[in-house]
Symmetry: C2
Subunit: 308 residues, 2 copies
């Protein structure tokens, strides 16, 4: 690609830039962001070649029209709360040859925002979600190998051309990612179940304990099992507030299913029904064991026998 424009050059956007550059898949990278300090730092680190702003050109920074001119690919990697505003800002400047994608953790809401803002340019928007992350952020956190072996989900729209979808897929493949395809609705249901609900449950448990009068005593006896169970409650509250609201319908459905499961577990416990409890615990333990075994088999390098 000749030119890639990235909104938000932190861990996700900056690592995308570094990986594309390392693969020789891009000539010029323009970073656009609200924080001029972050943008300057990203340029200093060599992550981006030029800085753009969302308004008119300023000293040392391109206007949005200049930034987008001749772009092959635009990636939205800013906090998801900014997605609609960014799409609205770029819509007037979007040229026919440019494909826009994003890296948001939810997709149905992003698609709705794109339909509202891009109008008849909607075919140029190919939504995506790279499944990678770390606890660090900002341009200094960006690394060229973040996406190697990770999944990049593309949730294409009916309006997208195969060539535009392939441009996004090829960029993620150049970063080392493995392409998966889901509809936006499938994507949101899946991540509500395996990611968004567990976050809500972990935040809920820690808050519940922290609000008890004897919270200090409780935390004193919390051990490694509690630490692992609540690790995701150490994540950014603002980010997870936004994700919870963005994926509200799917998350509500998963939460309702889980509360029904707890109601059932409560009834077994109240009835001292050890057989029913053990059936649920065993099924969970076995399912988790199979899952872990499958992951480890997939992650293991091919054995010498197989490679021959």
């Amino acid at each position: 690609m000749n030119k890639v424009v990235i909104f938000g050059v932190g861990l996700i956007g900056g690592s995308f830039a570094r990986a594309l550059r390392k693969a020789g898949a891009v000539r010029d990278i323009v970073g656009v962001g609200r924080s001029s300090a972050s943008m300057a730092r990203a340029k200093e680190l060599g992550i981006i070649d030029a800085i753009g702003v969302t308004g008119d050109a300023s000293e040392g920074a391109l206007s949005l029209a200049e930034a987008l001119h001749g772009a092959d690919l635009v990636l939205l990697a800013a906090p998801v709360a900014q997605t609609e505003a960014i799409l609205a800002a770029i819509a007037p400047h979007l040229q026919p040859g440019t494909v826009v994608s994003d890296a948001g953790s939810t997709k149905s809401d992003v698609v709705a925002a794109a339909r509202r803002t891009l109008g008849d340019k909607i075919a140029q928007f190919v939504p995506g979600h790279p499944i990678a992350g770390r606890e660090t952020n900002g341009p200094d956190a960006a690394i060229d190998h973040l996406y190697i072996g990770k999944k990049a989900v593309i949730t294409a729209l009916a309006e997208n051309s195969d060539a535009d979808i392939e441009r996004v897929a090829a960029a993620w493949r150049a970063c080392g990612a493995i392409i998966h395809r889901l509809t936006p609705e499938e994507h949101d249901k899946v991540f509500a179940a395996v990611s968004h609900l567990p976050h809500l449950l972990a935040y809920g448990l820690v808050d519940d304990i922290a609000n008890k009068p004897h919270a200090d005593l409780l935390f004193q006896y919390a051990a490694s099992g509690f630490r692992d169970f609540t690790r995701i409650a150490g994540s950014s509250p603002e980010m997870w507030r936004d994700i919870s609201l963005a994926n509200q319908p799917a998350l509500l459905a998963e939460l309702d299913a889980y509360m029904a499961q707890l109601t059932s577990l409560r009834a077994h416990l109240a009835a001292n029904d050890g057989v029913a409890l053990e059936r649920i615990y065993s099924n969970a333990q076995q399912a988790r064991h199979q899952w872990i075994t499958a992951i480890e088999a997939a992650e293991a390098p091919p054995s010498p026998d197989k490679a021959e």
Copy 2:
């Protein structure tokens, strides 16, 4: 001590034996258990000096009366489902100078079982719970440093003499543990909140997902956050069935409080109340951060400045 008798010489009982021996705190250790293969292995490994059985003497094994004769301390470290049967078996042979303790994860039920079985010897029973564990079990898993720096909770009864409590405390201190004191009821409420409920929640989530028609798709996208959150659902279903039932009243109370918390979170989510969601998420994140910071400060070696 001259003689210690341990029921169940797996990870917990075997590590207690090894640690006492390493500290030079005991002369003879007798192991008693249902599996003659495990007992033979424990003797072969030098964990115990002699083998006892719960009935009459058999070839190479002491009768229960012989095993208990002159014992300073008896530790019950067999699966908790066996606790009442073991207490009933030892009651007739229990001499006045012997103190009995246990290592069970729940205490109110153990105290009730001890009151039913030991009768007027109840003062000799000092309930305990060492907070240590690993994923391995059996005599080969036993190590002499399992308890170093770990908590050993003693939930003494009103009937216990200070000298008997001190004998149990001294044994755990010899193993490197730090003694904590709670009532049996406090103990069970604390562990219902920080251990038993999280296990039930994790089992419940994995079972819920595993039973969905698209379970394979869901597990395919589960990542490291899900893996940590559900790690405790990899624990023994039988053991956690027993713990859930043994601590049923306290666990029901914690589960009810948590379900009320989820009902509240659901209402905020349904109302798109980002302020309320963020307040809960932030409170949880901050409480967890303070807890982790406190743990790490407690675990860190004293700095050279402080040591001077």
